[in-house]
């Protein structure tokens, strides 16, 4: 059985809501597709679907994950091809149902079917640790934990890592989202070391707090396609680390400083 599978399924989760799971899922999915992999991003947040909006595919939804599970349609019919990338697909959540519409075993079956045809399955998990979270992790081979530099988010991340371990998903990787280097410098925000000290997991990447993310999210174009944005660069690095490349961590020093220092950076090469 194990050998037949082709792809890898990765669940993006956090425990706490609003830390950027959906944005991260959209960007990672898009990034992997940009590198030529075939990717399905799966919105597991039934009842509160967002991933379609963030990817700008909302108006193309005909069938959703519940239709697939209930066999109202074929899996292929529910997959929405991305506007810009040939090999990127979205499996949208249902909006009119709730989390009881899908069970863990149905999810495992669905993800296994997807893995036979695609390189990466990115599962965007709902917030919380209830049923929606449980079926989201059921089909996952690996996990990416998203947190922000806040004590509450880190606490929830810790809880989730514990539950993942109990479900035999070991060594999740961490993305610290929305960090503000100026605040860290002043000692007003948790720094990466503080977070890693508690969570003791491998760091996959650090994404700076960047207004470009808000702009691109509202436009339905993942920021990873924005060549200039620092957050886009951070996501591109994250994707390269997912496929196993060694990439140095971004220098976020100058993110929130004035134009002068940016000029200096350009003129004198950092």
């Amino acid at each position: 059985m194990e050998n037949e599978k082709k792809g890898t399924s990765i669940v993006v989760t956090s425990g706490k809501g609003g830390v950027g799971k959906t944005t991260t899922s959209a960007n990672i999915g898009t990034g992997l597709a940009m590198l030529g992999y075939s990717v399905v991003v799966l919105d597991a947040d039934i009842g509160l679907r967002n991933l379609d909006v963030v990817m700008g595919l909302e108006n193309r939804i005909v069938y959703d994950i519940v239709d697939v599970v209930e066999k109202n349609c074929k899996l292929k019919q529910a997959l929405i091809k991305d506007k810009r990338h040939e090999n990127l697909y979205l499996l949208p959540a249902a909006q009119t149902k709730d989390k009881t519409a899908v069970s863990s075993s149905q999810m495992v079956e669905l993800v296994n079917e997807l893995k036979e045809n695609y390189d990466y399955i990115i599962i965007d998990s709902p917030a919380g640790i209830e049923q929606g979270f449980q079926y989201s992790i059921a089909g996952a081979d690996e996990a990416i934990i998203v947190t922000t530099p806040e004590v509450s988010a880190v606490r929830d991340a810790d809880r989730v890592i514990g539950i993942l371990e109990a479900n035999e998903i070991y060594q999740p990787k961490l993305i610290v989202n929305r960090i503000r280097q100026d605040m860290v410098k002043r000692g007003d925000m948790m720094n990466i070391e503080d977070i890693l000290d508690i969570l003791a997991v491998k760091l996959l990447g650090v994404v700076p707090d960047d207004e470009n993310v808000v702009i691109s999210t509202n436009r339905g174009e993942p920021v990873i396609m924005d060549e200039k944005a620092l957050s886009g660069k951070a996501y591109r690095n994250i994707v390269r680390r997912i496929i196993g490349e060694e990439v140095d961590f971004l220098n976020l020093e100058n993110t929130n400083q004035g134009k002068l220092s940016k000029m200096m950076k350009i003129l004198f090469g950092r």
């Binding site: 606490r155 929830d156 810790d158 809880r159 890592i161 514990g162 539950i163 371990e165 508690i198 003791a200």
Partner: protein
């Protein structure tokens, strides 16, 4: 029913006796019943140890004396019943070891305990790893953390005021020993050396456990 309180385990060197509960009379009754079922077999057996989660030293000594004099058991370590009390008193008097709970049963936890995880045990708990905020340890005996203790630790549950909590870094959200609850003072105090918490005169006292540091 009462037989389930006692299990006797034989190994090459002799027998172990495992005891449940802490009521001497009940233990004695079911132990004697068990031995009398097969008196010839047990007579003159070599006794290695008596163990049990709730077993106190007094009951243990009583059981050993009973077995020795009534059923001719040979005790592997005679001093276990003769010298132990004296030895312990001496050590405490001379301040050689801290006045802590008699060893008893211990649960070892390997790895980090994360938020929402809980370990309860009718004895001591040793964690080889960190205890993160949101995790809870509950022990009848002592709690030792070979790492950072940032969660909640409750030692000495059920009236054990001699219980201790010790950690490489003792930064608990809350610390409880028996029925005394303390929390760390406001403000971050991060000590780089191992510390031990214990009750002295109804107050929880925290101090380095290496007096020379």
């Amino acid at each position: 029913m009462s037989n389930s309180m006692i299990s006797i385990k034989g190994i090459a060197d002799g027998v172990y006796i495992n005891v449940e509960g802490n009521d001497y009379n009940k233990i004695k009754e079911s132990l004697e019943m068990k031995i009398n079922e097969n008196i010839e077999f047990f007579k003159g057996s070599k006794l290695i140890d008596v163990v049990g989660e709730e077993l106190t030293l007094d009951i243990k000594t009583e059981i050993m004396l009973l077995l020795k004099y009534k059923y001719d058991f040979v005790l592997k370590n005679e001093y276990m019943i003769l010298d132990r009390e004296i030895e312990k008193e001496d050590l405490i008097k001379n301040n050689k070891i801290p006045n802590i709970v008699e060893e008893g049963m211990t649960k070892f936890v390997h790895g980090t305990l994360r938020s929402g995880q809980e370990v309860s045990y009718n004895g001591n708990i040793v964690v080889i790893g960190d205890v993160n905020p949101g995790a809870v340890l509950r022990a009848k005996g002592n709690i030792i953390v070979l790492g950072l203790l940032r969660g909640v630790a409750h030692a000495g549950i059920g009236g054990n005021k001699n219980a201790i909590v010790a950690a490489y870094s003792l930064l608990p959200t809350q610390l409880r020993i028996d029925d005394i609850i303390v929390r760390p003072p406001e403000g971050d105090s991060y000590y780089k050396y191992p510390e031990i918490a214990r009750i002295i005169e109804d107050k929880v006292i925290i101090e380095p456990y290496l007096p020379n540091k």
